[in-house]
C-alpha cells in the first residue's frame, strides 16, 4: 500500500506575528520549526501500515526551504521519499488546493494528514484536499485496518466518548488523531544520515498553478492580538505554603 503523509512544519514560540499589507494573510518568522504533532502520529501510522502490508511512504510538505528539516526528519523516521512543494501560505484554501494538486502527481492508495496544525488551528486542509480530489475521507481517525478488498476500516472519534467504524474504498484520505500509535524515538545518527537523501521539489508552475489564482478571497484579517479576558482571574502570590493555604480556603468555600 502506497501512502502519502502530509507533514507541516510549524513554529515554536512566535513573537513577531503581524498582518500582511493587504490584510489577506498573517506573517511571522517562526523560529525552531518542528513537525506538527498529529502529523508525526500520522507518519507513525504509515510506518505501522508499511510494516504489516508493505508499500512505499512519501512525506510531503508545503512550505519554504525551512520545511526541508521536517522532511529529513520524516526520512529519518522511515519515509522512503520526500517532496517539498515550494509555496508559503497559511491560508487553508491555498494549502488545500496546492496539496491536492501535488497529490494528483503522486501515486497513492492512502493519504494521511493530521487533524489540525498548531499555528493556524484550522483543521481544514485534509478534508478540503479530499473533496477537491473527490476521494472518501474520515476525520479524527484513531485506528486504521487495511483490508484485502482494497478498502480500509477505520475507527474515528465522534466526541464525548463515541466512535464510528467506517469502511472506505481506496484511494482515501484520513485525518489522523494524536495518540494513534506510540511515538518512536529517532537516533541522532539516523537524523544526520537522512540529510544525505534527496528531496524532490515541486514549484507552483510544476503543478500548473498560479499564486494569484490561489490568493484568498472573501475575507481579510483586521486584528491579531492576545485574547480579550471575559472576566478577571484572581492571581495568588506568595510562598508555595501561603498559596497552598489560600487555595485550600478557596476550594473549601466552593463546596
Amino acid at each position: 500500500m502506497n501512502i502519502v503523509v502530509c507533514c507541516k512544519a510549524v513554529p515554536g514560540l512566535v513573537t513577531d506575528l503581524k498582518i500582511g499589507a493587504d490584510g489577506k494573510a498573517i506573517q511571522y518568522q517562526g523560529q525552531l520549526l518542528a513537525i506538527n504533532e498529529c502529523d508525526e502520529y500520522a507518519l507513525e501510522e504509515a510506518l505501522a501500515l508499511k510494516r504489516s502490508h508493505g508499500g512505499q511512504i512519501t512525506a510531503i510538505s508545503m512550505g519554504n526551504i525551512k520545511a526541508l528539516d521536517i522532511l529529513y526528519y520524516a526520512l529519518a523516521k522511515g519515509a522512503d521519499k520526500a517532496v517539498r512543494v515550494d509555496c508559503e501560505s497559511q491560508d487553508p484554501r491555498v494549502a488545500s488546493n496546492v496539496i491536492a494538486s501535488a497529490l494528483g502527481k503522486l501515486d497513492f492508495d492512502l493519504v494521511l494528514t493530521g487533524t489540525q496544525s498548531r499555528d493556524t488551528l484550522g483543521g481544514q486542509v485534509g478534508i478540503a484536499a479530499a473533496s477537491l480530489l473527490g476521494i472518501p475521507f474520515a476525520y479524527a481517525v484513531v485506528e486504521v485496518e487495511a483490508r484485502e478488498n482494497n478498502t480500509v476500516k477505520v475507527r474515528k472519534e465522534l466526541g464525548g466518548g463515541r466512535y464510528a467504524e467506517v469502511e472506505l474504498m481506496l484511494p482515501a484520505l484520513l485525518c489522523v488523531q494524536t495518540g494513534i500509535q506510540p511515538l518512536t524515538f529517532v537516533p541522532p545518527a539516523r537524523r544526520i544520515r537522512a540529510r544525505q537523501q534527496p528531496v524532490a521539489s515541486f514549484s507552483l508552475a510544476d503543478l500548473g498553478l498560479q499564486v494569484d489564482q490561489l490568493a484568498p478571497r472573501g475575507y481579510r484579517f483586521i486584528a491579531v492580538r492576545p485574547p480579550e479576558r471575559t472576566h478577571q482571574v484572581e492571581l495568588l502570590q506568595g510562598s508555595p505554603q501561603e498559596i497552598a493555604t489560600a487555595l485550600l480556603n478557596k476550594i473549601r468555600e466552593s463546596l
Binding site: 506575528l17 466526541g159 466512535y163 482515501a172 498559596i243
Partner: protein, 328 residues
C-alpha cells in the same frame, strides 16, 4: 442572491446538541441584525423529535431531510445532503458547530458550495454592518479578527462557548420537508457502526472536585503528585489529551472535546495550557483553579483563580495542606 443564515443541526437520539442550540441563539441574533431569515437544516432518520425540539428557538424555516439512508450516514453522504440544501437556500452564512462531526463536514460542504470556510471560531458578530469572526491561533495565545467582505459568503464553524441562556421564543418555524434520493448519492465510504467508549471505573461526570493534569507534568513518573492531591482533596484525577496519547493515564480520564464534558464544583488544572478543545469540556465548572508557569496560557482566560508558578512547588504544598487539614 445569498442572504439568509443557515444553521446545520447536530443531533443524537432525537435530541438537539447543546452546541446547536448555541448556534441558533447566535444565528437568530445575527439574522435579526442582518434583517434576513434564520433557516435550520436537520437531516437524519425519524426526525419528529428533533424538529419538535427546534421550535421556540427563533427559527423562521426548518428544512428537514428524513430518510432511512441517513440513519447511519457518513461524512460523504451528510456533506452531499447539506450541500444540496445549501444550493436551495443560497445562504450568506452557514453556521456549523465545531464538534468532531462539524470538523469533518465544514471543509467538505464549503468546497461543494464554493464558499469560504472559517473554522474554529470563538465568536461571530456584526460590527458596523460587517460580519466579523474571532478565531484563536497558536494554541489560543493569539486571537485573530477576520472580516467577511461584502459580497462574500462563508461556512463558519463555531466552538462551544459559555452557555447562552435564552427564553423560548414565540416565533413558530415553518417546517418544510425536502426529498433527496439518498441512496443514489455517490459514496465510497460507509459507516458500519457507532460505538461507545466502554465504561471504566471512574465517572468524571459525578466528581465534585477534579484535579486535572496536563502535559506540563512532563513525565509519567510524576503523575503521582497530582494523584496524591486528588486523593487529599477527596477528588478525582483527570487529564488533558496528550497525557492519554502518550499512555500515562487511560482514555476514560480525558476531559475535552474528544473526552468527557465535566462541570464539577472545583476544577484544578495543573500544567494544562487551555487549548480550546480542553476548555470545551470543563469551562462550565463552578470554580476553576489554574496552576501554570506561563502567565499567557489561555487557561487563565477561563480560570477564576490562578497561580503563575511551578506545579512541582504548588501541588505538593497544597497536598500537604489538605492532608494536615484532614488530620486536624
Amino acid at each position: 442572491m445569498a442572504r439568509d443564515v443557515l444553521v446545520l443541526v447536530e443531533h443524537s437520539e432525537g435530541k438537539v446538541e447543546s452546541l446547536t442550540s448555541q448556534l441558533l441563539a447566535i444565528g437568530s441574533r445575527l439574522a435579526k441584525e442582518m434583517k434576513v431569515e434564520l433557516v435550520a437544516a436537520a437531516i437524519g432518520h425519524r426526525m419528529e423529535n428533533v424538529v419538535e425540539a427546534l421550535q421556540g428557538k427563533g427559527i423562521d424555516r426548518i428544512l428537514v431531510v428524513d430518510d432511512p439512508g441517513l440513519a447511519l450516514a457518513g461524512g460523504e453522504v451528510q456533506a452531499h445532503v447539506f450541500a444540496e440544501i445549501g444550493k436551495q437556500v443560497e445562504p450568506r452564512l452557514v453556521l456549523v458547530g465545531y464538534s468532531l462531526v462539524g470538523m469533518e463536514l465544514t471543509p467538505a460542504i464549503a468546497s461543494k458550495l464554493r464558499m469560504n470556510a472559517l473554522t474554529n471560531c470563538v465568536n461571530i458578530e456584526l460590527r458596523d454592518g460587517v460580519i466579523t469572526v474571532t478565531r484563536p491561533l497558536f494554541d489560543g495565545t493569539i486571537h485573530a479578527q477576520i472580516a467577511l467582505e461584502e459580497n462574500a459568503t462563508a461556512v463558519v464553524a463555531l466552538q462551544k462557548g459559555p452557555a447562552i441562556l435564552t427564553a423560548p421564543l414565540a416565533k413558530k418555524a415553518v417546517v418544510q420537508s425536502i426529498t433527496i434520493d439518498v441512496n443514489s448519492i455517490p459514496s465510497r465510504s460507509r459507516v458500519l457502526e457507532i460505538t461507545e467508549e466502554p465504561k471504566g471505573d471512574v465517572d468524571l461526570g459525578k466528581a465534585e472536585i477534579i484535579v486535572a493534569v496536563g502535559r506540563g507534568i512532563g513525565d509519567q513518573e510524576k503523575i503521582h503528585f497530582t494523584a496524591e492531591l486528588a486523593e487529599a482533596l477527596g477528588g478525582t484525577l483527570a487529564c488533558s489529551r496528550p497525557v492519554v496519547d502518550v499512555g500515562w493515564l487511560p482514555r476514560e480520564r480525558q476531559v475535552g472535546a474528544s473526552g468527557k464534558s465535566v462541570a464539577p464544583k472545583v476544577y484544578v488544572a495543573c500544567g494544562i495550557s487551555g487549548a480550546i478543545q480542553h476548555l470545551t469540556g470543563m469551562r462550565d465548572s463552578k470554580r476553576i483553579i489554574a496552576i501554570n508557569k506561563d502567565p499567557n496560557a489561555p487557561i487563565f482566560q477561563v480560570a477564576h483563580i490562578g497561580v503563575v508558578g511551578d506545579l512541582f512547588e504548588i501541588v505538593p504544598a497544597l497536598t500537604k495542606a489538605a492532608q494536615e487539614a484532614q488530620t486536624r
